[in-house]
């Protein structure tokens, strides 16, 4: 589903990603962990070209993102993204937030878009909130709407950029629950997270990033109980 070869990303003189290589298979759930500033969000944002790629190759669903012939808007319709700050559209009601892209990009009819949106709201447990505005919802509810909004495009792949980091602790669980459900349904997911419990329980594979490279990767059991790299050990000692 995703192949990354020697991905480099520079902001000016600052080299944030220094040669990332990885392969993500369909239906795989990969959690990316690591200290702040390690480049994990930048890595995720390169996967749907929210950041341009300085050097290297990112192939998503068969499309080479760094190829000027690739229609990036089309690739993005297959790649859902959930942001730390939710980024719901504040001037639109919950249901309109979800309907917008299917209607304008997928060109499905308004009634089909509405039907799809209502089903998704039920799925994330917010069926009764369809006519509210985002500002009337709690953080956890907003993030669940944001997940529904991304799912409305029926993407093949979902990217999560620290989806629970902006939430009050008691609201984290409801969002992780929705994500766990998605993983069980077989969605391909790349999740940048500080929720080690989630990574351990749900991930098929964990990537530990530090200083712009993937320092260590493996199945969660191995990473969490028997990390090989010194940096991984140090990091896990601090956060667990």
């Amino acid at each position: 589903m995703i192949t990354v070869n020697d991905l480099n990303k520079q902001f000016g003189d600052n080299e944030v990603l220094k040669g990332i290589n990885c392969e993500i298979k369909p239906s795989e759930v990969v959690c990316v962990i690591g200290p702040s500033g390690s480049g994990k969000s930048t890595f995720l944002r390169c996967l749907n070209m929210l950041e341009t790629i300085t050097r290297g190759e990112v192939i998503v669903d068969g499309f080479n993102l760094n190829d000027s012939k690739t229609d990036i808007n089309m690739v993005r319709t297959e790649v859902g993204m959930v942001f730390q700050q939710f980024n719901l559209f504040p001037h639109k009601r919950v249901i309109e937030n979800i309907m917008l892209a299917p209607e304008k990009v997928r060109k499905i009819s308004r009634s089909d878009a509405r039907e799809r949106a209502i089903k998704l709201l039920e799925k994330v447990g917010l069926a009764e909130k369809e006519n509210q505005y985002p500002s009337q919802l709690s953080g956890g509810q907003q993030q669940r709407v944001a997940i529904a909004r991304a799912l409305a495009m029926e993407p093949k792949l979902m990217l999560f950029d620290e989806p629970t980091s902006a939430l009050d602790p008691e609201l984290v669980g409801e969002v992780l629950e929705v994500m766990k459900q998605l993983a069980l349904e077989g969605m391909t997911m790349v999740v940048v997270t500080h929720e080690m419990g989630f990574a351990r329980e749900v991930a098929d594979r964990v990537l530990f990033m530090d200083e712009g490279i993937i320092m260590e990767e493996g199945d969660p059991e191995q990473i969490f109980s028997n990390p090989k790299s010194e940096r991984t050990k140090e990091f896990l000692n601090k956060v667990l």
């Binding site: 859902g80 993204m81 559209f89 917008l100 304008k104 909004r149």
Partner: protein, 220 residues
């Protein structure tokens, strides 16, 4: 003070003042409508990645903001015909002055409002597969427009008052009519007070309407 001023005489001059009010409103409304279009175009120019569009917009805004309206009016009415050989009617010139002047300020209002929208909004739109133009149209503009209303109202009021300067290029607006009457009938106190009240009536009405619109848009 009793008997010194003949306030009732204002009524005799209402037809002339009415003509002035008509031209003040005409020039304000038409001028500001065009000014808004100019402002939207050049405001987008200021956030455009196209260097030429950005450059033209910047020059327009800096030149107009950096020179007084009075100079602009006199230049367009008296100097421009000498260059182009084409005489503009004073009312047309007045509309042009208000349009290009307000356009420069409105461009900055537009730019500021669009840039004030969190960039996460653009990212959310683009990540859903919306094109740049669709993201602007459905997500950024509606939010930016709401933020434009207070500074836009400010500019409208300033421009309406600026129309009084057009009396120097012989536009028969309120101030021009007032001066004509006062110099013929020596009733400066009464007439200029009446003129001031007319301007106040226009701007207060506008303030009221803008506040209403703002409240209507603030549905959340």
């Amino acid at each position: 003070m009793e008997g010194k001023f003949n306030w009732a005489s204002i009524i005799d001059f209402l037809p002339e003042l009415g003509t002035g009010l008509y031209y003040t409103l005409l020039i304000s409304i038409v001028g500001l409508l065009i000014g808004f279009v100019l402002g939207a175009i050049f405001g987008l120019g200021r956030i455009s990645r196209n260097k030429l569009f950005f450059g033209i917009s910047s020059i327009y805004i800096e030149v107009i903001r950096g020179t007084p309206v009075l100079v602009q009016a006199i230049w367009i009415f008296f100097a421009l015909p000498l260059i182009t050989g084409y005489n503009m009617e004073s009312i047309t010139a007045g509309i042009v002055v208000i349009a290009i002047n307000s356009g420069a300020y409105i461009a900055e209002v537009v730019r500021g409002s669009v840039q004030s929208i969190d960039k996460g909004q653009v990212e959310a739109g683009r990540s859903l597969g919306l094109t740049h133009n669709q993201t602007m149209r459905y997500i950024i503009w509606p939010q930016a427009f709401k933020r434009m209303i207070p500074p836009l109202g400010n500019q409208f009021i300033i421009s309406i008052k600026d129309t009084s300067l057009l009396s120097v290029i012989l536009v028969p607006e309120l101030m021009f009519q007032g001066r004509l009457i006062a110099s013929n009938y020596f009733n400066a106190v009464e007439i200029y007070t009446a003129v001031a009240v007319f301007y106040l009536a226009i701007t207060l009405t506008l303030s009221f309407v803008l506040r209403y619109i703002e409240r209507r848009l603030d549905v959340q």
